[in-house]
Amino acid sequence: MQHGAGMKELTRAEAVSGPLGAAPFGNYVLGPAYDEMFTPDGGLRPNYAALGERLASLPADELNRRQQACEQSFLYQGITFTVYSDSKATERIIPTDLLPRIVTAAEWARVEAGLKQRIAALNLFLRDIYSDGRVLKDGIVPRKMILGSKHYRREMRGVPVPHGAYVNVCGTDLVRRADGTFVVLEDNLRVPSGVSYMLANRDVVRRAFPGVFRAARVKPIEHYPLELLATLKSLAPFHDDVSIAVLSPGVFNSAYFEHAFLARQMGVELVEGRDLLVNDNVVYARTTSGLKRIDVIYRRVDDDFVDPLNFREDSSLGVAGLFNAYRAGNVALANALGTGVADDKAIYAYVPRLIRYYLSEEPLIENVETFLCREPAQLSHVLANLEKLVVKAVGESGGYGMLVGPHASVAEREAFAAKVKADPENYIAQPTIQLSTAPTFIDGSVEARHVDLRPFILCGEETRIVPGGLTRVALRKGSLVVNSSQGGGSKDTWVLSE
């Protein structure tokens, strides 16, 4: 995910008093973005006061030592992902930054309410498009956009889903605008990952700053696996002696650590496709004693690979016949199939309208402003302001089919404008986004780096959010890309009790 582009050159804050300017903050540069720790004039925000003082009092090599201890702990725990190159596989840890990102109780309350509202609307939307399609008949969302989406699963029409909760685990990416408000950058409604890093980060950071942690009265997050278990249990077709499994693509998947971690923490079986079989529309696991029935599957395998009979034939990760067992109501899948239709770039722009349509409420967390080229008024705005906008093709990802207006030449902009005019339905546009910056430990000192925030929302019989989430950080100076594959790391996220 590329958070827009067009960064301005950062300028060093001048003549600041207080901790900014002194070690370990000597290289801390405030830019135009919101900074999590410092106010624009260089003062410490109250939620960071204790941490700021602690950092200023620690010798530099002590910080280094704690950062190394933290990395070593990740290595020993095996919290690694595998990089394949020249036939040699190397395991690397995902860099963890020692310094927590601190969110106040008031900020969190607003985020939490907004996320619950958003997931409620998205689940209602999914139920709607897989049943009556009222939202399409009412013209709120264009029918063609839904039925033409490659993530729309016709097979899911009329399949009952427990509690109407299509999305049981959601990871929503939030960023903070320059004015300090959180906005949604992206909904991840398929198989979002990262929650194990949230928990592992807490574990090491609490050990690195025990005093500050205790004094700050940070809200706990350790109960996430229990909440996930309760959510999965609530999906079971019946309620006695429910047998739950986490379905993983296997040890070569980059999120394998997380799959194993969650299974262990919940006390449920970790299975792969080859462990399961379907007989008479019932799913069984092959055990040493014989076959054991499975009632709920937390699947960490994409829709396409779940069942080679119904979806991709060449999938060896899935289970033949799983979809029929699911449709027969003999097994619950979390997340339901077909949720991807609600998290693509075009639907994203409609989510505020969906919230109003289904809940008759105003969205509590806004979207990043998004222009839909399919609407004539917005199209003309986009064409008139191409030099300020990032224009993206709806069906593409990974930076393809994209124009970064501020960096493009006049000729490039004109060529792209022609493409947009020819097929406006395929394009959206957004202003370039500034992510907030947070203190990050870089080569012995503390510097500002851009961060986002991915809280995890659980949705079964009820909706639960563990306070916090995964803060991802772009470790390269000035970079806005927080992905681990491109120099991103992660941080512990502290939500304060008051």
């Binding site: 725990q77 792969e272 462990d275 004693s289």
Partner: protein, 317 residues
């Protein structure tokens, strides 16, 4: 327990046992080589090589440095110490959620540490010390496993793997001391007093043997001890007793009909070591007996897989 999980637990234990065996043979050999003549040391190294690899000897001469490199550090040799620990760790990773954090982290740390070591780096000091340290770590791993893991089905699969492997490794080692090492062109000089002593040490058996038979070294007593002693953890009989026990506890829900094959075969193996006797120390008789033990271990392994791990789903529906 998932059949795939049982498979990984079983192999994890087998590889750890093999790694322990390798570390001990190399430590003992490196410690004892100073007391042997060059010819004796060479024959003894060839036997170590055979005991560890079961493969024909490809080196021009038995050079300690090269043999240690091959059997401990060569990643392309699938039975080297570093390979065994790598495979043990791969299997542990497959069943990470079944293991305690302590077991996993101990094994992972040991592997990560070992991966960076080379034969050159240990040769500048006393190389045997390195293998003694690895042994210490493996003993700790055994203790951590015993004390932090639930002694449920998974643990019994670990026991099963460990003791099948041990029975085979000890049998092979005895076999090599009583006859031709497999695949070797010329016969090795017959083991001398010192070789028998070292054989006992390869199996941590010198002190227990001495208490039983005094320190008088007699090959027939050594065979008797390493094959038939009921109480010594590295005897074949002890290993067979443990694997019998483990088999009683695995797959608790499997019906008697599925258990019968494993019970019959492991019972026959137990009878062989409970009532077996070696009258004639001619290599033919000893080798035949040991070959039969090794074959029976293989049959138990196959029966376990057929009954509990690689069974055809149609047969249980």
């Amino acid at each position: 327990m998932l059949a795939r999980v049982a498979d990984s637990m079983y192999w994890m234990a087998r590889y750890i046992e093999r790694a322990e065996h390798t570390a001990r043979l190399l430590a003992v050999k490196l410690e004892s080589m100073v007391e042997q003549s060059p010819e004796e040391a060479e024959a003894s190294w060839v036997r170590v090589h055979a005991g560890l690899t079961g493969e024909p000897f490809k080196h021009a001469r038995a050079d300690a440095f090269e043999i240690v490199r091959e059997t401990a550090f060569d990643p392309l040799n699938h039975s080297s110490l570093v390979s065994c620990l790598g495979f043990a760790r791969d299997n542990a990773r497959q069943v990470r959620e079944q293991l305690s954090t302590e077991v996993w982290e101990h094994l992972n740390r040991l592997y990560l540490r070992l991966r960076t070591v080379t034969v050159e780096s240990i040769w500048v000091h006393q190389p045997s010390v390195f293998f003694r340290d690895v042994l210490e770590d493996l003993f700790t791993l055994g203790g951590v496993t015993y004390t932090t893991l639930r002694h449920g089905e998974g643990w019994h699969f670990l026991e099963l793997g460990r003791f099948i492997e041990r029975a085979q490794l000890v049998s092979r080692l005895l076999d090599i001391h009583f006859g031709l090492a497999p695949g070797y062109a010329q016969p090795l000089p017959a083991p001398k007093y010192f070789d028998w002593l070292v054989l006992l040490k390869f199996c941590t058996a010198f002190e227990p043997y001495s208490r039983e038979y005094t320190a008088t070294i007699r090959p027939e007593k050594i065979v008797e001890f390493l094959l038939f002693d009921a109480e010594f953890p590295h005897s074949v009989r002890f290993a067979v007793d443990r694997l019998r026990e483990a088999l009683e506890h695995v797959a608790p829900g499997a019906p008697p009909a599925r258990r019968s094959g494993c019970e019959r075969l492991s019972g026959r193996l137990k009878a062989a070591v409970d009532y077996g006797q070696i009258d004639d120390l001619g290599s033919v008789s000893v080798n035949r007996f040991l070959t039969d033990i090794a074959r029976q271990c293989e049959q138990v392994h196959d029966a376990v897989y057929a009954a509990y791990i690689a069974y055809d789903a149609e047969t249980v529906l």
